[in-house]
Chain length 811, copies 2
């Protein structure tokens, strides 16, 4: 997934990709991560999660505290760069290599390639200088992470984060205790935990006559001057603040309300504002107001101060709402009506333990860290987007009530339809219908009446391409997670989305059978992805007995043929007059070109629903396999990737760091060469994932990269959601137990698995020989055991029969 | 009432005030007003109302269509000047002398001296040039009023407005029918009527292939660059639009939502926006978008076009809501679910006829026009501020539901506590409790927890001085319109408002007994007005049996003594050290000086609750009367009024055009000289009111000026709300019948009344001799008849006894 704005190529990433045949590692060298303390060998999955994985490099994960699918994501922000100034690495507000921290904001995306959020930044302080520093746009309030033995004093576990901060200007401010211990005593420890809608902070202060908390409504991820349309702050009483802000960022018109409560009354506060607001009768007319309880403007900040004795603990709760400050206050009162930080942390842990136990694995500690952290990351999006009273803000800007479902937001669908949503059909069957309801509400509230493309916080961003919500819905329907009237409504919404002429060249796509590049850019990618999406609609139409719709969309599903250039052997963009778009270079990738974050090498495999048809276009299985082999070998000898920093995690032209490649390694199965899939998948898992901050080889993308890893670790992957099949790769864990709803389990076991023995020699399912390169959803959900016997040598005969190959529209 | 901003003195007004002894008229010469057609002598009160009265000069009234206390006020805007460019005359968007029109916006203040609103401006057009013109900030879209016989083709009656517009650029645009009739045929007639929450337009178009309507979300009264914080527009279908805008004007953070519906589908639309909004997948990225159904930004405009044949009528409904577009849509559907313009106009007329019949008068046609128009104007504020489903936006920014009451907004309390709210206790007894509930909700939702000062649309402006909501509430309580728990709650709110230290120098007022000028400006006026407000609190405390509170506030009520300067014989501002503020000039008036929109001559009479005490300060009744006489004679020989354009309608230093003077002419009664009150009141009514556009001698001020005229016409006036008395002036109408709730009436009759016979010779109440210079509220509400026998010569003996004088705290 990418950002919308064009920007320079991150040369450093590509510069590392020179020794392709040696599978160069792109990870930076970083200090070991502080995780929770390891205790004994009987650790729970929870204890293996390392929230710092993906917080370096281009993973774009945040280390902060949140609960599964939680509405708040309080997390440290180490930089909030201007949108125009290389903001890309700070999509989640945080980079693990940074030494200083700006504050803690309450909302973050997990792993996205474009960004926004970073709402309601707070920062504890022990000197008065903190507030002055906040006048620096976007970069205010730096404090250093304290260090011990050369390592940052920073800890994280699911639902908990802590750091010790060392203020930069300790000596200049108020009377912080002097003397030998001054530096030590000016440290502030900040701990965070969270419930669904409330961030809970525990701040341990040094002795100071002017300790306190800064609340900065200007701070923002991907900030730019003008991003904050308006903000407002009210001091309700000596320990409660409410307010909101409205931003125009990636989301064109986003509103977030909050209620903030201190465990200790503040004795004084100051507000700063850019607006020259006239408060007649209050003897003031200007930018800095002391103890005046309300403020509106575009640059509102506030500092709340109180005296603190050494080691004094002050708690702060920050509740969010998209509805109003009343909703935020109610969320606060409903979820955390006390000041027991440990209880909230413990409750968060229980929620995570429950979710993380849904798939348990036996493998090395390192692999467990990678696996359980991936499982953790897979539950950070979508997130809850409704108040405790079930009210939420709709795409139409008005307030709705989510009757009988939980409303979710943050749908990075171009990414997550691939593996994240299919994973949910196994691990989150109760949440899937609600996620689909949320998609359908979006469609209802959309002025276009189409399903989300990339939506969050009641906004459509139109980011990326396709209408992949149809894949999510069709897959869920076919798996029995959507029935009756809801299925009918969903199908109507899917049809509207696929036939909305104004969107993404659909008018020409419907007329010509392809997206004409001279009318709509990225025509090759769009045609290919639409064809797959259409196939998912056809599948659902068939299930619903809608014969005409089935015919229409099955026909559209074959549209990938229209962009196949037999001469060059690549999928290419065509102009409306039928001519190929020129010039053409199969390695060339540019934003707005023929492809979406990719090139011809990467996109020509995108026919997930009809790989046999694709093989026919290639001419033969052999030519198909040869070209696949080439993909993993071909060097990028020139700088032909323009403004597409998402193309990362490269093996040849295979770019694991971005989604268009993620199914490709599984395609050997379709051509009778499963062992080659096993080889590539092993190679990718071994070299493009690690238990370090930069252990994710590209944007984590709201769970998609993690879902890829989870599936691949188990030994199979949903190459074609909607097919009800998972294509066999190679298991990475010795044993995995999937706890299905009810008392059933599905177990994947291995024999002789080792770092060398990654080839499948043979397999059994429930004790019977298993000689297919796919497993069905039903086989998994019925429970049972899949046993792989592994070998250091490929079994070039296993699962190679034509009937052993996974689903393909063309048989 | 004034605007907050400083600006130049309107010299022309004062320049006319040279022949004080001849009572110079300050009206401009204007063309006669088009009112409704006169039919016969048996006309109803409705037919005498001329909404153009007050739309010239400094009346600041609007001529548009509205229902009594209606939420929408659709009205033509002739200029929308920049806030910094002499905006004062266009407070209501309209000046009758203007020849051209910009459009019709849906919200307007009636008669205010500072302004805002002008929301959702629309303008029908018959050429494409209209949209281009809209790019001119604040001054877009001019069309001329068509003229017939030298007069503008423009009509108004309560609930209805119409104008024929002649587009400026007819020949440049689309194919408007050519030939001899081109000019005639390019005229557009626009008619407006309204329900409570919905403005209803009837547009009669010329033949055009590109007729239509412009919707301009940038247009605003008192516009300035940056006033529109954000706006949004959605094209829901081919005939429905929704949207909102948020402004930072006089109100710091105001949100208004709308739903707009056409009777005829538009065939095309274009949107204009300052934001470079990227709508990926829609092939566009820029400022002007065709047929793209949503737009957000700070400068959003849209033009909706359709072909029209000659004389084609297209209706447009615009519903407002402060809650959301869902609220607006529901208001639209609830109130006007049809396209019957005449029915809505007729329904509006019925509502007005009911209200206007509450006081009927027998007098000349001209006087009837003035009187009934004043009665009409008295019902244009406060206005309804809640949706049909009773939801409204509170001062805390969140959405509330008005259970069991109607929520009102637009409280110009410094003006309206004087006569407007007392008038409501007679004519609107059912609405008064709801108005008070609205004030109490404001207090509840206020972060300060104080009652409104000058509030509208869920915003406090802090405009003007005092805490006069307490007067409104106390007066209503003492008249029996507030009881039980509500009275207790109200009293608590009143106390909080009067003791909130941070407001308006109250801390020092409570410590020193006066507002110290060196700490808070306008100290003389504030001390005087607080003292009166405190007296009203004391009266209510007494009624509730709260002895301690009674003592406290009765003591505070005497604080006017603390600003009496015996040496100069004026009320003056004092500094915190007890010294008089210097320099001092009793004629000098400057914004931010010792007085509020006035000078020492005008403010030294402001002790409405204790005129006998004031007389004692003057030394004797005789000195009091002599000084009163001087007030009406003393010329302003120099330009000593600085930036206080509200001081208008002058007779000597008496400024009828602004509120601080409005009770003064009645004060002779307290000093045994009722005949002098009769003389001055007659003089004021005769010369400072007319049935012409500039027939109001100063800002109408949300009904206060009109309420003054209504009371004074009847022969009495509430000098001291809370005293339960109305002080006798001189009747102007031969007969008046007040229809009280139930079947009772109170009649004021006159004998021998003429333009010369304005002195009261004698009077009877219910047949018994009446020799008092006041009448009680109970006497009126009991029903009955007050008969005045008039004479050309003063009866210097009538009602002069001490016990005949009106209430005074000091006996």
């Amino acid at each position: 997934m990418r950002q919308i704005n064009t920007r320079c190529l991150i040369a450093s990433l590509l510069a590392n990709i020179t020794l392709v045949s040696n599978i160069a590692l792109v990870f930076c060298a970083v200090a070991p991560v502080h995780g929770q303390q390891t205790k004994n060998s009987a650790k729970s999955p929870f204890e293996y999660v390392n929230p710092f994985i993906g917080t370096g490099g281009e993973g774009h994960c945040y280390p902060g505290a949140t609960v599964p699918f939680g509405m708040v994501q309080p997390s440290p922000d180490t930089r909030l760069p201007d949108f125009n100034k290389k903001a890309f690495p700070w999509c989640a507000g945080y980079q693990h290599a940074d030494d200083s921290i700006i504050g803690f904001s309450q909302t973050h995306f997990s792993g996205t390639g474009h960004s926004d959020l970073g709402d309601v930044l707070i920062m504890p302080f022990a000197t008065k200088t903190r507030f002055d520093a906040a006048d620096r746009p976007f970069y205010g309030l730096p404090a250093r992470f304290a260090k011990k033995d050369g390592k940052k004093e920073e800890w994280a576990e699911p639902g908990y984060y802590a750091a010790v901060l060392q203020e930069a200007n300790t000596q200049q401010g108020a009377n912080v205790q002097q003397g030998a211990n001054a530096q030590q005593d000016s440290k502030i420890k900040t701990e965070i935990t969270a419930s669904n809608r409330v961030a809970f902070y525990k701040c341990t202060f040094p002795a100071s006559d002017s300790a306190g908390l800064l609340v900065d409504l200007t701070a923002s991820i991907y900030a730019y001057d003008g991003k904050v349309i308006w903000s407002s702050l009210r001091v309700e009483n000596d320990s409660t603040i409410t307010g909101y802000r409205q931003t125009k960022g990636w989301a064109a018109d986003r509103k977030i309300f909050f209620a903030l409560q201190f465990s200790k009354p503040f004795t004084r506060y100051e507000l700063s504002n850019d607006e020259s607001v006239y408060y007649k009768g209050f003897g003031t007319h200007g930018k800095l107001l002391t103890n005046y309880p309300e403020q509106s403007g575009k640059k509102v900040k506030a500092a709340f101060t109180f005296p603190a004795h050494a080691g004094e603990v002050v708690f702060v709760k920050v509740a969010l709402s998209a509805v109003g400050t009343d909703g935020a206050l109610n969320n606060l009162a409903s979820e955390i009506p006390h000041w027991d930080f440990d209880k909230v942390r413990s409750d968060a842990r229980k929620l995570w333990e429950k979710e993380l136990s849904k798939i348990t694995v036996e493998t090395s500690d390192k692999e467990k860290q990678i696996f359980y952290t991936a499982l953790y990351h897979s539950m950070l999006a979508p997130v809850t987007y409704m108040d405790a009273d079930k009210r939420y803000r709709g795409l139409d800007g008005t307030i709705h009530t989510a009757e009988n479902f939980t409303n979710y937001t943050i749908y990075s669908l171009w990414d997550t339809y691939r593996a994240e949503h299919p994973l949910f059909t196994i691990t989150q069957p109760a949440r899937v219908p609600d996620m689909i309801q949320s998609l359908l509400r979006h469609e209802e509230q959309s002025v276009h009446h189409i399903l989300p493309v990339w939506s969050f916080h009641a906004n459509e961003t139109w980011c990326m391409i396709g209408y992949h919500a149809v894949s999510v819905i069709s897959d869920a329907y076919l798996k029995g997670l959507l029935t009756g009237e809801s299925a009918q409504k969903a199908f109507a919404a899917m049809k509207r989305s696929a036939t909305y002429e104004r969107y993404g060249g659909l008018k020409e796509y419907m007329r010509l059978g392809y997206v004409a590049q001279d009318i709509e850019n990225e025509g090759a990618s769009k045609t290919l992805e639409y064809a797959y999406d259409d196939w998912t609609i056809a599948q659902m139409a068939q299930g619903l007995g809608k014969t005409e719709d089935y015919k229409t969309f099955a026909q559209r599903a074959a549209n990938y043929n229209n962009v196949w250039d037999k001469t060059t052997g690549f999928m290419r963009a065509k102009k409306s007059n039928g001519a190929w778009n020129m010039p053409f270079d199969p390695i060339y990738a540019q934003y707005g070109g023929d492809y979406t974050e990719g090139n011809a090498w990467q996109y020509s495999w995108y026919v997930p629903h009809d790989i046999q048809g694709l093989i026919q276009l290639f001419g033969s299985k052999e030519r198909f396999v040869t070209k696949l082999d080439s993909l993993f070998i071909l060097k990028d000898t020139s700088s032909k990737y323009k403004n597409v920093e998402d193309i990362s995690g490269l093996i040849g032209q295979y770019a694991h760091g971005n989604e268009p490649s993620q199914h490709i390694a599984y395609l050997y199965n379709y051509a009778g060469a499963p062992w080659k899939t096993q080889e590539k998948i092993h190679q990718i898992m071994s070299h493009l994932f690690d238990n370090t901050p930069d252990g994710i080889s590209g944007n984590e993308d709201c769970g998609q990269m993690s879902a890829w890893y989870i599936f691949s670790s188990l030994g199979f992957y949903p190459v074609c959601p909607g097919s009800l099949q998972y294509v066999i790769g190679t298991p990475r864990v010795e044993k995995a137990v999937i706890r299905l709803d009810g008392s059933k389990t599905f177990t994947v076991s291995t024999k002789n698995l080792s770092s060398e023995n990654f080839y499948i020699k043979s397999a059994t399912l429930n004790g019977k020989p298993f000689d297919r390169s796919y497993i069905t959803h039903r086989e998994i959900m019925n429970g049972g055991e899949l046993v792989f016997t592994m070998s250091a040598k490929p079994n070039t005969a296993w699962a190679t029969a034509k009937e052993s190959a996974p689903y393909s529209m063309t048989k």
